[in-house]
C-alpha cells in the first residue's frame, strides 16, 4: 500500500491496526505490535503466512500493500518484496500497488505464497488519484481527469524538465517542444485551452516551478481537464496540473539513479560549405537579377575556387566548426534518495543534480541541483504533522553575447557565414578574424572573448502541514497547510570589448581592424516571496451503501515581487563589479498580489454505482475594484457504473468481457483573471485614477536635471472582473477482457464569456482623448475530445503493454461586441466572429511560370511592376477577385497558423521478458502550420550564405547565358538577398503563401529504452537490493513532412532557427541499497 496515495481516513484508520514485520526498530511499535497481536489472537485463530511479491518481469516489488480482505489488517512488502502476516484460515489477501492490477489470493492452508502482480497500464480502478484538495479512487472519478505516476514518468530518463517527460503520455495534453536548449521545457496546455494552473503538493504554483522539480521526485501527476477544475476557481479556466511528490513508504532504503548521455543536433537548416559552389550561386543570383551586371566572381576566380588554389579561395565549413566539432555534448544526472515509512514516520529525502551542455558549444550550459525532503510524522493518534521542503539552484551559463537571447548568434552564424569567411585571421586562434559581421563569427562566442552571462535561480519552499482526525466524529478531519516560497533570481551579464584582426600575408602582420568597444555590464535581481495558507475541514464516511466525501477549504495567497535592474559601462573588461560613476541605470520595482478562496466539494456515491458530485468556489482577488472582486465558480458531475447493475452483471455473466463501464458527465464554471495571451486581464489598480510615477514612465531632462516623470493614468476601469469558462464534458471509462484492455473517451465544449472588449455601441470620438474602460463582453469557445486505449497481457514469460491516445481541440470565436469594419473586405479579412481560430490568411499559389514568354503575356500584375521582376520558376498568385493585380484582397485562408497543434497523439509500447524490459514512447501532432520565411525563403538572407534547399531551383542550363533554356526545379530562380516575387514596395510582403506554407504532421520517438535488472542471486551476492541498467535514446527518429527543409517539425520560429531539439543517447543505472 502506498500510504500517501490513500485518503487520510484510510491511512490513519489502518495504521493503528497494522502489524509490523521484522526490522522495526522502535520500541513503541514493538509494543504496539505485541499488544495488537495479543488482542487479535485472543479473538481468532491465526496462521502466519510469508510470501514474495514480484512484478511480471520478476522484479521484487517494494511497499506493496497486503490487506486481509474485509478487515483493516494489513502490512507491506519489504525491500526484497517479502511480507509476513498472520491471518485466519480461509481468508483472502488483497495485494495492491500503484501501477499494477490489484490481485486477490485465497490463503487456504498455505504458509508461503508467491504473488505476481500484473502491470496495469492505467487500468487499475482502485488506484488513488490525487485531485484538487484530496484524492479519489479511480473508479469513483466522474470528471475528465488523466493521471500518470512515477512508474510511467520514470521511463523518460534524459528529460531535464517534467513537461518534456509528458509527451504523448496523456490524452488531452497539447504538447510542443520547440526549443532544444539545455534546461528547456515544452509548452504544454490542456486541450489547447492555454496556460494551465500548476498545483504542487497542494500549493498553487507556476510553470517554472513545475518544470524544475526533479523528475525523479514526482510521484504522480493528475490533470484536471474539465469542470472539476472549478475547485481551483479563478485561475483554473485552462485546467489544472496537480503534482504530488514522493512521500516515502516501505522499508528504509537508499536509491541511486544516474545516467550519462550524449546529445546532438536533431535537425537544423544547412548552408553551403564549398567556396566554389558558393561563388557559382552568387554569380547565378547576380545574373538572374540583372544579366547585364558585372558578376561578383570572374571566370579566373571561379577556377581558383574550384581548385582551392590559394588561401583566399579555400572553403571553410562553418557547419563542421559549429556543429560537428561540438558533437556529442555530454549531459549527466544523479539522484540519491533515502526513503522509508512506518506507522510513525514517512520520509523521502532526495538530492538530484543535472548538468547539460548545449549542442551549440560547451560553454553554453545548464545545471540544476534539487533538494526534496518530505517528512510526515504522527505525533499521536489522529494527529500528524509534515514538512515538505523543496529547494533548488538552477543555473544557466553562456558567453555574454549581445542581444537578449544569447543563443541567437551561434545558430544564426550557421546560415550567415559564407564558406569564404574564416573564424581566425590566418587561422591563428589568437586572432579573431574581422569578417565584417563579427557578432556572428562563432569563434568570438566564447567566454574569453565575449564575456559571460550567468542566470541563476535559487529557490526554497518549505511547506508545513498538520492533519488532525477530530475525535468523536468518525471521518472528520481538520488540516492546515502553510507554504512559504522564496526565490532569488540573479542575472549577471558582462559583455566584453574585443578586437578583430585582418592578416596581411605579405608582411605577416595582424592588424586590428574591428571588434567592439562596447563594454556592457548588467545585473538583474528578482526576489519573489509567496505565501499560501490553507485550512481544510474534511469528512468521509460510509453508511452501508452510501458513501459521503466532502470538504470545505479556505485559502489565502500573497505574492511579493521585487526587481532591481542595474547597468553600467565599465572602463575595463577586468573590472567585474559595479562602480557608481560608470552606472547609468538603477531601476527598482515592486509588485504585490493577494487572493482569497473558499471552496467546497460534496461527493456522494451509492453502492459504487451511482456517483454525484457538487463543488464550488468563491474567489476574491486584489486585482479588481472592491465590488467586482468576488466570483462564484460552481461545478458538478455525475457518473454511473453500468457494470455494477445486477441486470448488466447477469447479462455479462461470468465471461468478463466487459469488466467495468462508467458513463459520466460534468459541468463547471471556472474563472480567469488573465487574457487569452496569459497576461493579466487588467493592470493592477486600473480601477484607481491618479498619476503613475516611476522609472518605467521615463525620464525628462529639464534644466540639466534628470527628472522621473509622472503620467496621468487615464480613465479608471472600475467594472472589469473575471472572464468565465463554462465547460461541459461527457465521457466514459471502460475495462475489458479481464481488465487487460482499458479505455477512456471524452468530448468537451468550453465556452468562455467575459473576455474584455470595448463597448462600441456608443463610440466615443477620438478627440476626447481617452480610451473608455473595457468591459467583460466577448466570448469564444473551444471544443474537442480525446480517446485512449491501453492493453496489457502476457504470452508465456513475455508480458507486454501497448497503448495509444489521440486528442483533438479547436477554438472558435463566438461573439464580438458590435465589431466595426470599414468595408466588406475588412470584414472578410479581419472579422473573427463565428470563425475558427488559428487560421492563416495568405496568397494562393496556382503554379510557377515556366517560360519568359508566359510571364510576358501574363495578364495579372503580380509584382506590382508589370511582372518586370519575374523569372521562370516564380510563383503565380491566384488573382482571386480578378482585378488584374495581386493585393491584400486576394488573400484567402491557406492553412493553420504556426500555433498550438489541433491534433495530438501518442502511443507507447513495452514488453518484458525475464530480466529485460523494453519501452518505447512515441508522440506526434498535426493541425498547425509552418511557413518558410527569411533563410528558408530568401536566398543569401542578410548577405549571408545560401540555404542548401535552394540547390533545387529553377535555373538556366548555363547560368550566365541569358538565352540558355530554363531547367525546372522546386524553388524559384535565386536572387541575392531578395525573395522571388518580392514587390518593390517593401510594406507589401508576399511571404505568407501556400507555396511556402506547410500543414505539419509529425510523429517522433521520444524515448526508446532497454533495461536489464540483475537477478536476485547476483544481488544477494553483491549485497544490493536491486540493480537495473538501461540504455535509452531520446528523439532518435521522427516521421514528418518538414524533413526536406531541414526544419524541426516542432519549431515555432518561422525561419526554423530555434535552438534545435537534441537527440540523446543515455546510459544509466538504478541501484537500491
Amino acid at each position: 500500500m502506498k500510504k500517501s496515495l490513500l485518503p487520510d481516513r484510510e491511512r490513519y484508520a489502518c495504521a493503528d491496526m497494522r502489524q509490523s514485520p521484522q526490522k522495526r526498530a522502535t520500541r513503541n511499535i514493538l509494543l504496539l505490535f505485541a499488544l495488537c497481536s495479543l488482542f487479535s489472537s485472543t479473538v481468532f485463530a491465526q496462521n502466519r503466512i510469508t510470501g514474495d511479491v514480484f512484478s511480471s518481469s520478476g522484479e521484487a516489488l517494494i511497499g506493496v500493500s497486503v490487506l486481509v480482505k474485509g478487515t483493516n489488517t494489513g502490512t507491506q512488502t519489504d525491500v526484497n518484496g517479502k511480507f509476513a502476516i498472520n491471518v485466519a484460515p480461509g481468508s483472502t489477501l488483497v495485494f495492491s500497488y500503484v501501477g499494477f492490477l490489484t490481485k486477490e489470493v485465497a490463503v487456504k492452508n498455505l504458509t508461503t505464497i508467491r504473488v505476481d502482480l500484473q502491470s496495469s497500464g492505467a487500468t487499475d480502478l482502485k488506484e488513488v488519484v490525487v485531485t484538487g484538495y484530496g484524492s479519489q479512487k479511480k473508479e469513483s472519478i466522474t470528471s475528465a481527469i488523466s493521471s500518470t505516476t512515477s512508474k510511467e514518468l520514470d521511463r523518460v530518463h534524459g528529460a531535464a524538465t517534467v513537461s518534456r517527460a509528458l509527451a504523448g503520455k496523456l490524452p488531452g495534453i497539447t504538447f510542443k517542444a520547440s526549443d532544444g536548449r539545455p534546461g528547456s521545457s515544452a509548452a504544454i496546455s490542456i486541450r489547447g485551452l492555454g496556460s494551465p494552473l500548476f498545483v504542487i503538493d497542494g500549493v498553487q504554483s507556476d510553470e517554472g516551478q513545475f518544470n524544475n522539480i526533479s523528475p525523479n521526485d514526482v510521484e504522480s501527476i493528475a490533470i484536471l481537464k474539465d469542470g472539476s477544475a472549478a475547485i481551483y476557481g479563478v485561475r483554473a479556466a485552462n485546467g489544472v496540473v496537480v503534482v504530488t511528490t514522493k512521500k516515502g513508504t516501505g522499508e528504509s532504503r537508499v536509491t541511486a539513479d544516474a545516467y550519462i548521455g550524449l546529445q546532438n543536433f536533431y535537425r537544423f537548416p544547412n548552408a553551403l560549405n564549398d567556396s566554389y559552389e558558393y561563388a557559382m550561386f552568387r554569380n547565378e543570383a547576380a545574373f538572374n537579377a540583372n544579366p547585364a551586371a558585372t558578376l561578383p566572381y570572374s571566370a579566373t576566380e571561379l577556377d581558383k575556387f574550384k581548385t582551392q588554389a590559394d588561401r583566399d579561395h579555400r572553403s571553410f565549413d562553418w557547419h563542421k566548426f559549429i556543429v560537428d566539432d561540438n558533437a556529442n555534448r555530454p549531459q549527466n544526472f544523479v539522484n540519491l534518495n533515502i526513503q522509508g515509512g512506518n506507522d510513525k514516520v514517512n520520509y523521502y529525502v532526495s538530492a538530484s543534480s543535472i548538468y547539460q551542455e548545449s549542442t551549440l558549444g560547451k560553454e553554453y550550459q545548464f545545471q540544476r541541483q534539487n533538494l526534496q525532503s518530505n517528512i510526515t510524522t504522527k505525533l499521536a493518534t489522529g494527529l500528524s504533522v509534515g514538512l515538505i521542503l523543496n529547494g533548488r539552484i538552477e543555473a544557466r551559463d553562456n558567453p555574454g553575447v549581445p542581444n537578449e537571447d544569447d543563443y541567437d548568434q551561434a545558430r544564426y552564424a550557421l546560415l550567415r557565414n559564407s564558406p569564404l569567411e574564416r573564424p581566425y585571421a590566418n587561422d591563428n586562434p589568437d586572432y579573431l578574424n574581422d569578417i565584417g559581421h563579427n557578432n556572428s563569427n562563432y569563434a568570438y562566442l566564447q567566454n574569453k572573448w565575449a564575456g559571460h552571462r550567468k542566470d541563476t535561480w535559487r529557490i526554497i519552499t518549505p511547506t508545513f502541514k498538520v492533519n488532525y482526525d477530530i475525535p468523536g466524529i468518525k471521518g472528520l478531519t481538520l488540516s492546515g497547510l502553510y507554504n512559504y516560497y522564496f526565490a532569488d533570481n540573479l542575472m549577471d551579464n558582462f559583455e566584453w570589448t574585443f578586437k578583430t584582426y585582418t592578416y596581411n600575408p605579405t608582411a605577416d602582420t595582424y592588424t586590428w581592424t574591428g571588434g567592439s568597444q562596447n563594454p556592457y555590464r548588467q545585473r538583474k535581481n528578482n526576489k519573489v516571496f509567496n505565501t499560501t495558507q490553507q485550512i481544510q475541514l474534511a469528512y468521509a464516511n460510509t453508511f452501508g451503501k452510501h458513501t459521503i466525501n466532502a470538504f470545505l477549504v479556505n485559502e489565502r495567497y500573497t505574492i511579493k515581487n521585487l526587481n532591481v535592474t542595474l547597468h553600467s559601462v565599465p572602463i575595463s573588461n577586468n573590472l567585474p563589479l559595479f562602480y557608481f560613476p560608470t552606472m547609468d541605470q538603477y531601476d527598482d520595482a515592486e509588485s504585490n498580489q493577494a487572493r482569497i478562496g473558499y471552496a467546497l466539494r460534496f461527493q456522494y456515491n451509492f453502492a459504487n454505482k451511482y456517483y454525484a458530485e457538487f463543488l464550488g468556489r468563491r474567489d476574491q482577488s486584489y486585482l479588481f475594484a472592491p465590488g467586482y472582486r468576488t466570483g462564484y465558480f460552481p461545478g458538478g458531475s455525475v457518473g454511473w457504473r453500468i457494470t455494477e447493475e445486477p441486470w448488466v452483471k447477469n447479462l455479462l455473466g461470468e465471461k468478463r468481457i466487459l469488466n467495468d463501464l462508467k458513463l459520466r458527465a460534468s459541468y463547471g464554471i471556472t474563472g480567469d483573471d488573465r487574457k487569452p495571451d496569459g497576461s493579466l486581464i487588467t493592470p493592477a489598480f486600473s480601477y484607481l485614477p491618479g498619476y503613475n510615477y516611476g522609472t518605467g514612465q521615463g525620464i525628462a531632462v529639464l534644466d540639466g536635471n534628470a527628472i522621473i516623470v509622472a503620467r496621468d493614468k487615464g480613465l479608471a476601469s472600475p467594472v472589469i472582473s473575471w472572464s468565465k469558462s463554462l465547460q461541459s464534458d461527457i465521457g466514459f471509462d471502460f475495462t475489458m477482457f479481464d481488465s487487460h484492455l482499458s479505455g477512456v473517451a471524452d468530448y468537451f465544449y468550453r465556452k468562455r464569456t467575459g473576455l474584455l472588449a470595448n463597448r462600441t455601441d456608443i463610440v466615443i470620438p477620438s478627440e476626447l482623448g481617452y480610451v473608455p474602460s473595457q468591459e467583460n463582453l466577448n466570448s469564444d469557445a473551444r471544443f474537442g475530445g480525446e480517446f485512449s486505449l491501453n492493453y496489457n497481457n502476457r504470452i508465456g514469460e513475455v508480458s507486454y503493454n501497448i497503448g495509444g491516445n489521440i486528442s483533438y481541440t479547436r477554438g472558435e470565436t463566438l461573439f464580438n461586441f458590435n465589431p466595426q469594419f470599414a468595408n466588406s473586405l475588412d470584414e472578410y479579412r479581419n472579422s473573427t466572429t463565428n470563425r475558427y481560430q488559428n487560421i492563416q490568411f495568405g496568397y494562393l499559389v496556382e503554379g510557377q511560370f515556366t517560360s519568359q514568354d508566359q510571364i510576358n503575356n501574363y495578364k495579372v500584375n503580380i509584382d506590382g511592376r508589370g511582372n518586370s521582376t519575374m523569372l521562370p520558376g516564380d510563383l503565380i498568385y491566384k488573382d482571386v477577385n480578378n482585378d488584374g493585380k495581386i493585393d491584400v484582397a486576394d488573400q484567402r485562408p491557406i492553412g493553420f497558423t504556426n500555433g498550438t497543434p489541433i491534433v495530438n497523439f501518442g502511443f507507447t509500447i513495452g514488453a518484458s521478458y525475464k530480466n529485460f524490459t523494453f519501452n518505447a514512447d512515441f508522440s506526434g501532432a498535426s493541425g498547425y502550420g509552418y511557413y518558410q520565411t527569411n533563410e528558408a525563403q530568401v536566398p543569401f538572407t542578410n548577405n549571408g550564405n545560401l540555404n542548401v534547399i535552394f540547390r533545387d531551383r529553377w535555373h538556366r542550363e548555363n547560368t550566365s547565358d541569358p538565352n540558355a533554356p530554363w531547367i525546372p526545379g522546386k524553388y524559384p530562380a535565386i536572387r541575392y538577398n531578395t525573395a522571388a516575387n518580392a514587390s518593390g514596395d517593401s510594406n507589401f510582403k508576399f511571404n505568407q503563401n501556400s507555396f511556402y506554407g506547410h500543414d505539419v504532421f509529425y510523429i517522433r520517438a521520444r524515448t526508446i529504452e532497454l533495461s536489464y535488472t540483475l537477478p536476485q542471486a547476483v544481488l544477494s551476492f553483491a549485497k544490493i537490493k536491486k540493480a537495473r541498467f538501461y540504455v535509452n535514446g531520446y528523439n532518435l527518429i521522427s516521421f514528418d513532412n518538414l524533413k526536406s527543409l531541414n526544419i524541426d517539425p516542432e519549431a515555432t520560429d518561422s525561419n526554423g532557427q530555434q535552438v534545435p531539439q537534441t537527440k540523446v543517447v543515455n546510459l544509466g543505472v538504478n541501484l537500491v541499497f
Binding site: T294, D312, A380, G382, L383, P402, L420, N433, G436, H437, N438, N439, V466, Y468, L478, G480, E495, T502, P505, T513, G514, Q517, N518, I535, R556, H567, V569, D584, A594, I596, S621, Y622, P626, R629, F685, P689, G690, Y691, G694, Q697, I699, A700, L702, G704, I707, I708, D712, L715, I762, V763, I764, P765, S766, L768, G769, Q820, D826, N943, N977, D985
Partner: protein, 645 residues
Amino acid sequence: MKKKIFFTTLAVCLMGAGSCKKDSDFLNAVVPIGIIDSQIEFNDPALTLAAIGRLYNAEVDFSGLDNNWSSFTDFGESFASENGHATQGRTTWSYDSWANWDYTYIRELNLFLERIAGSTGLTAADKARFAAEARFLRAAQYFELAKRMGGVPIITKSIVYESGPVSAVQFPRNKESEVYDFVLSECDAIKDILPKLPATKSRATAGAALAMATRAALYAGSIAKYGVNTPTVTLSGDVVGIPAAMATGYYTKALASAQLLIGGTYGSYKLYQTALPAADNYAAVFTDKSSTNNEVIYIEDFKAFAGKVHGFTTNDQPYSNGEEIDDAGRLNPTLNLVQAFEKLDGTLAPFATRDITGAPAYYDTPQDIFAGRDARLAGTVLIPGAIWKSAANDIWAGYWTPNANPANLTFEQGTITTSDVASNLKPLPGTTIPVQVVGKDGPINGLQFHTQTGFYIRKWLDPNVGTGRRGQGSDIPFIRYRYSEVLLNAAEAAAELNQFPVASDYINQVRARAGLTVPLVLNSANYFDRIVHERRVELCFEGLNLFDYKRWRIATQVWDGQNETVTDLTTNLLSATHRNTKQWGLWPYKVYSPGNAATNGKWIFKEVVPAPNTGVLLFRLGNYYSQISDAILGSNPKLLRQPNQ
C-alpha cells in the same frame, strides 16, 4: 488530548496568521506603489514638475534623436544602409504616413491646466509658469497636428462622455487657419509669462514661444500663398487650405515675431560663432551644450549616465571608427544633398567626375573634389577621408585599372577590383599578393552598416568617446528651434512681403557664418529658389524638409515619381523644384595603373545608385495631408475625409 487540541489549534492559527484579518483587509493590504493621487500631485512642486516632465517628453518631433534615425533618411537627402529598410526601395508613401491624431496628449495637457488651476499648494509664480508651459506644449501639439493633418477640432478642456446624445461631444474639424491662429494667439499670450532666459533651453521660454510663432505664421502664410499651385488640395469650409487673402497677414506676423526675437528684448540670442574653422563651428552648433551656445533656443535634452540618452551616434557613426560592432553607418547622405552645397563664390555646380572628353577626372586625394565648398558641407557630412574621433574614415569602392594605357579612357574602359568586405584581400591585376581593395567603411554595394553612398553623417554625431556604444549612448540634444532658422524665417517672410533688402540682410547673416563671403542680393526673381535652397542646406536633417516642401506645395514636383538620371542629378541645381527621386552616391576609386605615372595612385569618382535603392520617389497629391484613419472617422461622423485619397 488537551495537548493535541492545543497543538492543532496553535498550528492552524499560525498557518492562518493572516486569517485573523478580515477578507477585505487582507486584500486591501495590497496598496498601489507609484500611483499618486492628483490632489497630492498638484500640491507638491516637485511632483508637478514630474507631471510637466512627462508632457515635455511627449512632445512630438517629426525627426528626433530618440524617435528613429530613419525619419532622417527619407526624402532623397540620404540613404538607409540597413538591409530591408523601408526607405531603401521606397516608391511612394502611404497616405497614412506622418499621421498624428494624438488627442490623448491634448487631454493630458488640458487636465494638467485644469488641475494646476485648482492647486492650492503651489506659489502663484509656479502656477503661472507651469500653466504657461502646458499652454506652450498644447500649442506645439496643435501646430504639429496642423502641419500633418490640416484643420483639426480644437479642444481646450477635458471632456468625458457620460450620457445623452453622443453628438454633443462630436466636434467638427476647425479651419486650418483657425488652428494656426490658435497657435499664434497662445504664443502671444504666454510669451510675457514665460521666463526670458536664453540659458533655459529644455523648458519653454519667451524665446521659444516667439520662435514657434514665427515658424507657424510662416507655414500658414506659405500655404495661403502657394495653395493655388495645388487647387485640388482643399476641403470645403477651408478645413484644408488657407485662403490666399490671408497670406500677407501671416507673413507680417511671421516677420514681426521673428523681429521681436531678433531684437533681443525676449532674450539675447545670436548665431554661434567661435574661433573654430567654419565647418567645425557649424558642427559644434549641434554638439556644444555650454552656455556660450546662444543660437539654440529650445531643445529636447538628454543626459549621460542619468537614464536619458539616445542611439543616434551608435546607429550612424562611421563603421570602422565606430564604437559598436555591427551597429553603425545607417544614415548615408546622398550626392543629391552633398552637391547642393555651394561653391564659395555662391554658385552651384556638380562635382567634376569627368573631363570634357568623358574620361575620368583625376584627383590627388579623395578630398580634393570637395574642396572650395560651403563650410556647412564638411560640418554636416563626413566626406571620404574625414577625421572622426581622431581617425580618418576609409571610404573607397575599389581599384580602377585602365584596360589599356592611352589617355582619355572612359570609366567603363577600366577594370574594377573590389571585394565583399575590406578584410577580404585580393591581388591587383597582374599581381599575386593580396591587398586591401575596398575601404573599410565601404562603399560596398548592398553591404549594410557601411556607407553605400560614399558619405556618412556628421550633424548630431557625438564626438565624445563612448557615445557610440549601444550600452552607453549619446546625450547630444535635439534642437527644436534655433536662431539661424528664425533668421531664415524672417528672410522668407520679408521677401514674401517684398522687403528684399531686409530679407537679404537676414539670409546673409546665416551665409556669412558658413564662410560664404559674397553677399546674396535677393530679388523677386531669385528669392524663392534661393530661400528654398538655403533652408535645404542650413536646416537639413533637422526634421523640417518635408514640411517646407509641403507648405510651398512643391513636394509633388520634387518627388514626382520620374526616374532621376545623372543628367537630372547634375543640372539645374538651384531650381526649387529640382527632381530628387533617386538616392545617388559618389564612389571614389583608387587608380591602379602601374605603367602610367601620371594617373597611378590618383583618385577618380563615379556617380552610383546603391543597388538596394530600387524605388523612385513619388509624392502624391493625397500625401499633402495625412490620412485620418477609418477608425477615427468612424468615431466622429462630423470629421471630413482628407482630399485626394
